[in-house]
């Protein structure tokens, strides 16, 4: 991968240079960068090692769905593991390092696991170490306890600091009429509509800037929208994630107060844990782009298409020189255009044949082609492509980056927290939210709308829905129907090339391959919940934000069923990880629980008593006076 910073484009401040270190190497970025974009600007491809096989991993995305660029930030008692480089804002003096690798991510001894990987199929640990033949007579657990320690060491992510946390955290509460989650086009439209009708509105955005996916558009001004929202009296909370919805319209928020500052104000907490009690919740949490499973689809240089657009237009970073885009939908063509205008050599492989695309032909479109294998180990050398019907080698394209788009999955997580199961939309190949009786409305692309105008219309409709339910007005409204692409999407989840033993990753986070899913099927773990637990598909940091649908579709294929019949796993809070410190808040140290004192408490302390806890009280355990051991004392006194 040859990524570089451009002289134009981006919403970064090129006058303010920020210095940071990556694995003790001194690098620099600009104000407004994320750690991931700064690394890409410095042409750093390998940022991590994978969970099980220790394969080199790069940056896959530009947001919370990231499962490759998990890094450790800070040092000593402020060491914070498994931070997504894509959402970490860059600040001066940031110290970041790769994890799950020894000695470092470029050269990792654990990489041997990749070559003996066929012994590490799903459930390998349990199958093997629960009982090794000579010892297995009823002592499986003992053996497991022994090996578990070693396995935990070899497979894993970063390690947390063992020192007490020096930062403080806070709990806070607020009330409002309507809380809007997400500040994309739909969320902003909804917030404005509700605020104009004199409702008390809170708008929550997990990013540092307002705008949602519009931040990946070149001509978008975030400050304009921010000022408009402010002038309407909307409380805008940036760097704040709505991680869960609870009963009676209660929303849990995590606000990152000082995580982006090099020298935080010591009077500020690091993070704030908000409990918001709203009357109506509007969720415009957007959609997440999926990848496509095929052999070696995890080599550094693979990325989602929208992420590349994001890096280009928000951070002014061109992520590759010779770029191949593999897709099955219309969402990529704007990006292809912009990338080629920025100077990249772009080829688009579209798995569909009967499509009409209007573009100015700066790039080559190969209709009916799919990728099936990436050549390379630490970087992409070339891509083998094939006709989409019959997988056979047709051509090899030399490239340094492969961008994937296997469709979009609406982020239905928050609604799922309320126990509302999403329904399958075969037309758009995604799960879309079902209706609920509770005061929750889904808007924008989290409803499966791909068109910006539709998103804005749905935002207004969502706000009207809220107004109606709160009894403020009685207006008719309608939501645009899901979809919005000119050519229909053609489902493409896995490209299976029969001749090779492949590592085609379904879920990057835990190294779950398509073969693991097939193994789970062979061994009878066909229920989605069993599949998840057996293969660890959809677990850990990203909770299957990218790979879940691919895993489901593979299982549906094996069972000869439709995806909705196989089902979807239920998403539970939190949407993104919440630190334990934030959950605890101020209740640490002596504030963990109150100390109740007896009238003699101070007297006991004054006389040097060692105290012992008795419920919330303390009572003297003993008085360690310079007195000798009582037995000796007595013996001496008795002169025995």
């Amino acid at each position: 991968m040859k990524s570089k910073r451009l002289n134009n484009l981006g919403k970064i401040d090129r006058d303010k240079t920020l210095n940071f270190t990556w694995d003790n190497k001194k690098l620099s970025g600009f104000e407004g960068d994320s750690l991931a974009s700064a690394l890409l600007a410095n042409n750093i491809g390998i940022v991590g090692r994978s969970f099980k096989y220790h394969r080199p991993r790069g940056i896959f995305s530009s947001g919370v769905e990231e499962s490759g660029a998990l890094v450790t930030i800070g040092s000593k008692d402020r060491r914070d593991p498994n931070v997504r480089a894509t959402t970490q804002e860059l600040f001066d003096g940031l110290k970041a390092s790769g994890q799950n690798a020894f000695p470092n991510v470029n050269f990792d001894l654990g990489g041997i696991n990749n070559y003996i990987g066929r012994f590490f199929a799903a459930g390998f640990y349990y199958k093997t170490f629960m009982g090794i033949p000579p010892f297995e007579w009823g002592k499986g657990t003992t053996i497991w306890m022994l090996f578990e320690k070693l396995i935990r060491k070899a497979a894993g992510m970063g390690s947390a600091s063992r020192l007490p946390d020096p930062d403080s955290y806070e709990h806070a509460h607020d009330f409002c009429d309507v809380i809007v989650v997400g500040s994309g086009p739909s969320g902003v439209a909804a917030a404005i509509e509700a605020a104009e009708k004199k409702l008390d509105v809170i708008l929550v955005e997990q990013d540092s800037l307002v705008g949602g996916n519009q931040l990946s558009e070149n001509d978008f001004s975030t400050s304009e929208i921010f000022n408009q929202l402010k002038s309407l009296g909307i409380k805008v909370m940036t760097r704040t994630t709505a991680f869960g919805l609870y009963d009676n319209c209660v929303v849990g928020l995590l606000e990152r107060v000082t995580d982006h500052l090099s020298i935080p104000d010591s009077t500020l907490p690091r993070q704030r844990f908000w409990t918001i009690r709203a009357k109506h919740i509007i969720v415009g949490s957007g959609a997440l782009e999926r990848h496509i499973a095929f052999n070696n689809n995890d080599i550094p240089g693979v990325m989602t298409v929208n992420a590349s657009k994001h890096y280009l237009n928000r951070y002014g970073v061109l992520t590759g020189e010779d770029i191949v885009i593999a897709t099955n939908n219309d969402s990529v063509y704007e990006t292809a255009n912009e990338l080629s205008e920025a100077g990249a050599n772009v080829t688009v492989l579209d798995s569909r044949t009967n499509i009409e695309i209007d573009s100015n032909k700066n790039f080559e479109i190969r209709k009916g082609f799919v990728p099936y294998n990436i050549n390379g180990t630490k970087k992409i050398d070339s891509l083998d492509i094939s006709k989409s019907e019959n997988i056979n080698k047709i051509d090899t394209i030399n490239c340094d980056q492969v961008l994937l788009s296997g469709g979009w999955s609406p982020a239905v997580h928050l609604l799922s927290h309320r126990g509302v199961k999403p329904k399958w939309d075969p037309e758009n190949a995604c799960f879309i939210p079902s209706d609920t009786k509770e005061n929750i409305t889904m808007i924008g692309s989290s409803r499966g709308l791909w068109n910006k105008d539709d998103c804005i219309a749905s935002g207004v409709a969502g706000a009207t829905d809220a107004l109606n339910r709160l009894g403020v007005s009685k207006t008719n409204y309608f939501f645009p129907k899901p979809g919005g692409w000119k050519n229909p999407i053609k489902p493409l989840y896995e490209v299976k090339y029969k001749k090779s033993r492949s590592k085609s990753f379904v879920d990057y986070q835990h190294d779950v391959t398509a073969d693991d899913v097939r193994l789970a099927h062979r061994e009878g773990f066909i229920s989605v919940e069993h599949l998840k637990r057996y293969t660890t598909l959809g677990m850990a940091n990203d909770q299957g934000k990218m790979g879940n649908i691919i895993g489901l579709s593979l299982m549906a294929d094996l069972l000869n069923k439709e995806i909705p019949e196989v089902g979807t796993t239920v998403f539970r809070p939190p949407y993104t990880p919440v630190p334990i410190g934030a959950l605890t808040g101020r209740n640490v140290g002596k504030h963990f629980r109150p100390l109740r004192v007896t009238p003699m408490h101070q007297w006991n302390i004054d006389h040097g008593a060692k105290m012992i806890e008795v419920g919330l009280y303390q009572r003297p355990w003993y008085y360690p006076k310079k007195m000798k051991h009582s037995v000796i004392h007595i013996l001496e006194k008795q002169q025995l």
């Binding site: 609870y246 009963d247 009676n248 319209c249 209660v250 409990t275 009690r277 009786k437 509770e438």
Partner: protein, 94 residues
């Protein structure tokens, strides 16, 4: 989090309240049979849907409330004071 609309204090978190059990139980007379008393004290229906329960606003006005709550969705249909006289007072104050 369940939010209970206390007729005296307004809408509050359930953590201010303590749960008091089934509100639909009518205790039999003192002379009633052992069986009747056993049923009144020990036997409870495991309702799926709305059930009548008592809640004590222990960290608030300390009123005992009768709450109609769904055991499936936590949706609350109605809240009123258990004591009929208090109920009248609350209604008069409206």
């Amino acid at each position: 989090m369940i939010r209970i609309n206390c007729p005296y204090c307004g809408e509050r978190d359930h953590s201010e309240f303590s749960y008091g059990g089934d509100a639909s139980i009518k205790y039999p007379s003192l002379e009633a049979s052992e069986k009747e008393w056993t049923e009144a004290i020990f036997f409870r229906k495991n309702i799926r849907g709305f059930q009548l329960e008592t809640w004590h606003h222990s960290n608030g006005c300390r009123m005992w409330l009768e709450v109609e709550r769904s055991t499936v969705t936590h949706e609350i249909k109605s809240v009123r004071p258990c004591h009929p006289d208090l109920q009248k007072v609350v209604e008069n104050n409206k």
